[in-house]
């Protein structure tokens, strides 16, 4: 993947910042599990934090934030079919 010199120089700072954020969010994940929340709230909080962590890894380590349309298209299609996979046992004929 071609990056310009200027873009590259910034990358390391971004990687370190994302690493710090991921470590912090991991601590939050564990801490949040000790809160006495309703089952639905516990699941929602856990998945929300996991999604933020996943988003950071995807956007910055996998360079998705500056990726080409075709990759977004592949992932969009995947997301659609993943939902189909998730919901098809529930709504099976």
């Amino acid at each position: 993947m071609s990056h310009s010199e200027a873009e590259l120089k910034n990358q390391v700072k971004i990687y370190i910042s994302v690493f710090v954020a991921l470590m912090f969010l991991t601590m939050v994940t564990v801490a949040a599990s000790y809160l006495d929340l309703s089952p639905l709230a516990t699941i929602a909080v856990a998945l929300l934090i996991a999604s933020i962590k996943a988003g950071l890894v995807a956007c910055y380590f996998m360079h998705l934030i500056s990726e080409r349309t075709i990759i977004y298209a592949v992932l969009g299609l995947t997301a659609f079919f993943f939902l189909v996979l998730l919901l098809s046992p529930v709504y099976s004929v």
Binding site: Y15, M62, R68, I71, L77
Partner: protein, 200 residues
């Protein structure tokens, strides 16, 4: 111009897609992996929703060890992206250092996992014990196998594979970027596995 059997657009982007064929291929593979693990996650949801007596993960599983593994794997993702970055700024020695670190951290993950499984087996807890353990061992086991696969690929790129840097540095950099995409995906799966299995 290109010889038969040669893969084109491997060291420069394809004019239509805008990315190398390697990167497009790797993302398509990752898409198939999302379907694989997604199927298991949806299995977990269905099993748990249909089972009111489902245990709380944190009561049965070793949360501190799993949290340690989360830290190990996230750190290995950083060293992996730094390995690619080192090639982007044309430093082979830095690449080797970061790739070596990534592999060591991956081994550390497996060692911790080994202790985790070992403690379960010591107490005669196996996948056949009940549905909870069946899905726990299956999902973490499948993920562990993916870690092993990543280690094999990364070892190849660190040792014999790095010779390509001398003949085709762009293609080699692309290979490491793709290896990185795979490794970050393995990390992503664990980022979801950890709270779902151990904390919920």
């Amino acid at each position: 111009m290109s010889s038969p059997g040669e893969i084109r657009y491997i060291d420069h982007p394809h004019p239509v897609s805008g990315v190398t064929n390697a990167k497009l291929g790797m993302w398509c593979f990752i898409a198939s992996e999302i379907m694989l693990f997604g199927g298991f996650f949806s299995t977990y949801v269905l099993l748990r929703a249909g089972n009111p007596a489902w245990p709380t993960g944190s009561h049965l599983l070793n949360v501190p060890l799993a949290a340690l593994n989360t830290v190990i794997l996230i750190t290995s993702s950083v060293t992996m992206v730094m390995a690619w970055y080192s090639l982007a700024v044309k430093s082979l020695p830095k690449f080797k250092m970061y790739m070596g670190l990534t592999i060591l951290l991956a081994f550390a993950f497996l060692v911790v996992k080994g202790f985790e499984y070992g403690m379960k087996f010591e107490h005669h807890i196996y996948p056949a014990k009940n549905t909870f353990y069946a899905i726990y061992f299956t999902m973490t086991g499948l993920h562990g196998l993916h870690v092993v696969g990543g280690i094999v690929a990364n070892l190849y790129y660190l040792f014999p594979g790095s010779k390509m840097w001398e003949t085709n540095p762009e293609q080699f950099t692309g290979r490491i970027e793709c290896a990185g995409l795979y490794w970050h995906f393995v990390d992503l799966v664990w980022i979801f596995l950890f709270p779902v299995l151990y904390l919920l």
